[in-house]
């Protein structure tokens, strides 16, 4: 029998090395007197809070985390404390939410977000090869946050990617160098392949429009 593999801290699972410090008081709602919040961030979060019924303002956690991510590029610890201060929640409650959702980044990442869908329909059409090629082409660029992502809801343009929110596809491997260059330079990615420009696939639809017009 081989020995059970253990991490440095003795556990069989990673990430359990930071034991709770029981001598410290639990984290509380940050004190507005000692927590400066950038005015722009405060305005955005307060506007979101106003959309919910009185007493239910905590519903604005997800929009608040989006505001933090827009402001700092990722959900930074200080950004989370600032949002918690405005929302009157503890930072831990916000961290619990931030770590649940795939699109919230809790580690520093590049500002250009590129998701390549690697779910069933896209992988049937070559998504894994697309992701590998894009990874090779982009390399270790600190400005690019390239991730394989679960179904992005655009299986009709498989294999596809979302570049800073813009859906493009189908992307052929020949187009990868051009796409990588556009991502690096901040240019519009593969403009001709934008999903929003794509007509409906249903032939009845194109047939119906002229006679109705």
């Amino acid at each position: 029998m081989s020995d059970v593999q253990r991490f440095e801290h003795g556990s069989r699972v990673p990430g359990w090395d930071d034991a709770a410090d029981l001598t410290k008081d639990p984290a509380v709602i940050p004190d507005p007197q000692t927590t400066p919040v950038p005015a722009e961030l405060r305005t955005q979060i307060e506007a979101e809070m106003a959309r919910y019924p009185a007493g239910r303002e905590r519903a604005a956690t997800i929009p608040a985390l989006w505001a933090v991510q827009r402001h700092y590029g990722w959900c930074t610890p200080e950004g989370i404390v600032q949002a918690a201060c405005v929302l009157e929640m503890t930072p831990a409650e916000l961290i619990a939410v931030a770590t649940f959702y795939d699109m919230f980044e809790t580690r520093p990442v590049g500002r250009n977000t590129v998701y390549v869908c690697t779910n069933i329909s896209c992988s049937l059409c070559g998504a894994d090869e697309l992701l590998a090629a894009l990874r090779d082409e982009i390399g270790e660029d600190p400005d690019v946050n390239l991730r394989g992502f679960e179904c992005l809801g655009a299986c009709d343009i498989a294999p596809m990617a979302s570049v800073n929110g813009a859906y493009i596809g189908p992307i052929s491997l020949d187009e990868v160098p051009e796409l990588a260059r556009q991502i690096r330079e901040g240019a519009e990615p593969l403009p001709a392949k934008r999903l929003v420009l794509r007509p409906s696939a249903d032939p009845k639809v194109s047939a119906s429009t002229p006679e109705d017009a």
């Binding site: 956690t61 779910n119 059409c125 809801g153 655009a154 009709d156 409906s200 009845k204």
Partner: protein
């Protein structure tokens, strides 16, 4: 000739703007609805036979009738989280015709007496959310939303809330928790959202496509609408076809059409020289069907009789060049990644299924692992608060049952290859 309802004028330039939508007859159904008694409107919805288009297929009118009467704060929530792999119909509806959805929301809110409504859209759909935001602002400016909806004295607010990437938020109670600002963990039911939903208030929660059909039902009347399609599956349905087909995309069909006509006729079938190996009839959560099932009618009852489900209406076609092991592993990986972790059978079951399939793939499994895997699936189904675990267990079970020979052959081949590699390294 199939009726075109949801996709009517869908490629008309500017349809996403209120001017073009109104010129095309938009918001007329709302005016008709506002002149009708809410109870009568719910009867119309019931009579239309419209079943939910999100996946479960629950009768929409019946769901609306569960909302209690009274003066408490009620809500309408639109499930625009569309995250079922293979499904992309709501995306096209919201992007190209957002006012059709908004009109449907207002009709539904009026029918159940809700004064606040939310559209919860998945965070990845940034372009669609921007379009919806603009359309909602237009509807406010034109007086279709706000304190006096179209001069009727009825009040309704509508807000577009963006998610942040989690499949589980498409589950209605997970969605409600997310909308309340928490992790998207499903709730114990009952109570159902109709009694205790958003902020514990009575909540009608429906899919984008379901609500987008409402203006058409009001316009046509229950009788005409229910005459479209077949018994127990009335109306038109948007289907998303993807995978190994020549013309992937969204198509509006009359329910009951033959699956072969959809896959081969509309979508052009698999690429030249390839055959259909198997297909998912209703998103990746539905048990797979094979080429033998192509003549099944595409409606709720016929697909159920064939041993699967219509689900979200997303057909994924897999051709004979693909390995069932790869597809199965992709699928298990997805559900293991998306399991919220609240219920043990799902959290552990999806995780271990993925690991076992990984062993099948790399040649360290034995044929007995297939039996263990099949029994794990049976221990997930029906044992959790929501159906995410079932959504993996059902297709995985069906793939093992229908392609067991291929799994066994793969195990043998991969093990032989691994052994050869090990000998090569040692030598």
């Amino acid at each position: 000739m199939t009726d075109i309802l949801l996709f009517r004028d869908i490629d008309e330039p500017g349809l996403a703007t209120i001017d073009v939508y109104e010129r095309r007859g938009g918001y007329q159904a709302l005016r008709t609805a506002l002149k009708t008694d809410p109870a009568e409107l719910i009867e119309t919805l019931k009579g239309s036979g419209l079943r939910g288009r999100g996946g479960a297929g629950f009768p929409m009118g019946l769901k609306a009738s569960f909302i209690p009467q009274g003066d408490m704060q009620k809500y309408v929530v639109v499930n625009a989280d569309e995250s079922e792999p293979g499904t992309f119909k709501d995306r096209e509806l919201m992007q190209k015709n957002p006012h059709q959805l908004i009109e449907g929301v207002i009709i539904a809110a009026y029918a159940v007496g809700a004064t606040k409504s939310f559209i919860y859209i998945r965070g990845e759909y940034e372009e669609q959310a921007d379009i919806l935001d603009a359309a909602v602002q237009e509807a406010y400016a034109k007086g279709y939303l706000g304190e006096n909806v179209a001069g009727s004295g009825v009040e309704l607010s509508l807000h577009v809330q963006r998610g942040a990437g989690a499949y589980i938020c498409g589950e209605e109670t997970g969605l409600l928790d997310s909308l309340e600002g928490r992790r998207g963990n499903p709730r114990l039911k009952p109570p159902f959202p109709a009694n205790a939903g958003l902020f514990q208030g009575p909540t009608l929660i429906n899919n984008v496509e379901t609500l987008s059909a409402l203006p058409h039902i009001v316009e046509l009347g229950a009788e005409t609408y229910s005459a479209i399609g077949v018994a127990n599956s009335s109306g038109t349905k948007l289907i998303s076809i993807s995978g190994n087909v020549q013309r992937p995309g969204n198509y509006e069909i009359e329910l009951g059409m033959s699956s072969r006509d959809i896959i081969y006729g509309l979508a052009g079938g698999p690429p030249e020289g390839r055959e259909v190996k198997f297909w998912f009839p209703g998103g990746s959560s539905s048990p797979v069907l094979t080429a033998d099932d192509l003549d099944v009618g595409y409606d709720f009852d016929s697909i159920a009789k064939a041993g699967s489900m219509l689900g979200s209406g997303a057909i994924i076609v897999v051709d004979d060049s693909q390995s069932v092991v790869d597809v199965c592993l992709k699928l298990a990986h997805f559900y293991a990644h998306e399991s919220c972790g609240k219920c043990t059978p799902c959290r552990e079951g999806t995780n271990w299924t993925e690991k076992m399939l990984g062993r099948v793939k790399d040649g360290t499994a034995t044929p007995m692992d297939l039996d263990i895997m099949a029994s794990v699936q049976q221990r997930i189904i029906g044992n959790c608060l929501c159906v995410l675990g079932d959504a993996m267990a059902m297709p995985v079970s069906s793939m093992i049952a229908k392609f067991r020979g291929e799994f066994e052959a793969h195990i043998e081949a991969a093990r032989a290859a691994a052994d050869r590699a090990a000998v090569g390294v040692a030598g």
